[in-house]
Symmetry: C2
Subunit: 138 residues, 2 copies
């Protein structure tokens, strides 16, 4: 993601543009589903002194506005620049997360909700082992 794109995204979201926020967005685009720590690690070389709290604050602000998706997993949260892909595979050994192509079950969702519930979205999480972890010991 270019700086200009990051700036535009922040403005559209109604957030002030700061170098740290631009850096968070670039880190989100550069790495697939990073953790907050992973994002910070990517930012520090360019902006030493950036605080982890700022990363969390930025992610929370973006998530509240629907620009970023928080993915809960047993190894902690990971973040995703929200695209239309809400289906992921997670490696049970290393926690890595990757996208999957679109899930064909969207119509099914609306036919099976318990009475009185409404659906606003969904996530599919496939669990398995990634290429790297499979090639290492078992």
């Amino acid at each position: 993601m270019s700086t200009d794109e990051a700036v535009a995204l922040l403005r559209e979201a109604g957030l002030r543009v700061t170098p740290q926020r631009v850096a968070v967005l670039k880190a989100l685009a550069a790495e697939s589903h990073p953790t907050a720590e992973g994002i910070l690690a990517r930012i520090l070389p360019e902006y030493p002194g950036t605080g982890l709290a700022t990363v969390y604050n930025t992610l929370a602000a973006l998530a509240r506005r629907g620009r970023v998706l928080a993915i809960a997993s047993p190894e902690g949260r990971r973040y995703d620049l929200r695209t239309e892909a809400h289906q992921h595979v997670r490696c049970r050994r290393c926690g890595r997360v990757e996208d999957l192509p679109e899930w064909p079950g969207a119509a099914w969702v609306h036919t099976v909700l318990p009475a009185g519930w409404s659906a606003e979205g969904w996530q599919v999480m496939v669990e398995g082992l990634c290429d790297t972890c499979r090639s290492v010991a078992s």
Copy 2:
């Protein structure tokens, strides 16, 4: 779940039978997808003094043997007596989780994995608002 069923489940899993573990299993059966705290709260009246660590230990032991499923969500983990249902709805306001009937497209999973990955399971999490939260303010 009856005491006898709980005892049988523990024996099958190769775990020692203790009153606390039986109580954890009964709590899991009595409440839909409780949190560790919720399980403890349900146990305390009958077994005052039970420790939260014991609940976590029991859940971890059962999860390791595949008798219980840990469900990660932004509001923390919830636990489920493992049945074959791995599709859930979660209320975005109160965090409640309920089961959905089986999604008929399991075959899809195996056709979309990234190269080199293997799949061991999957979960579908639909997000929305539950009946109670919908009827309260917006």
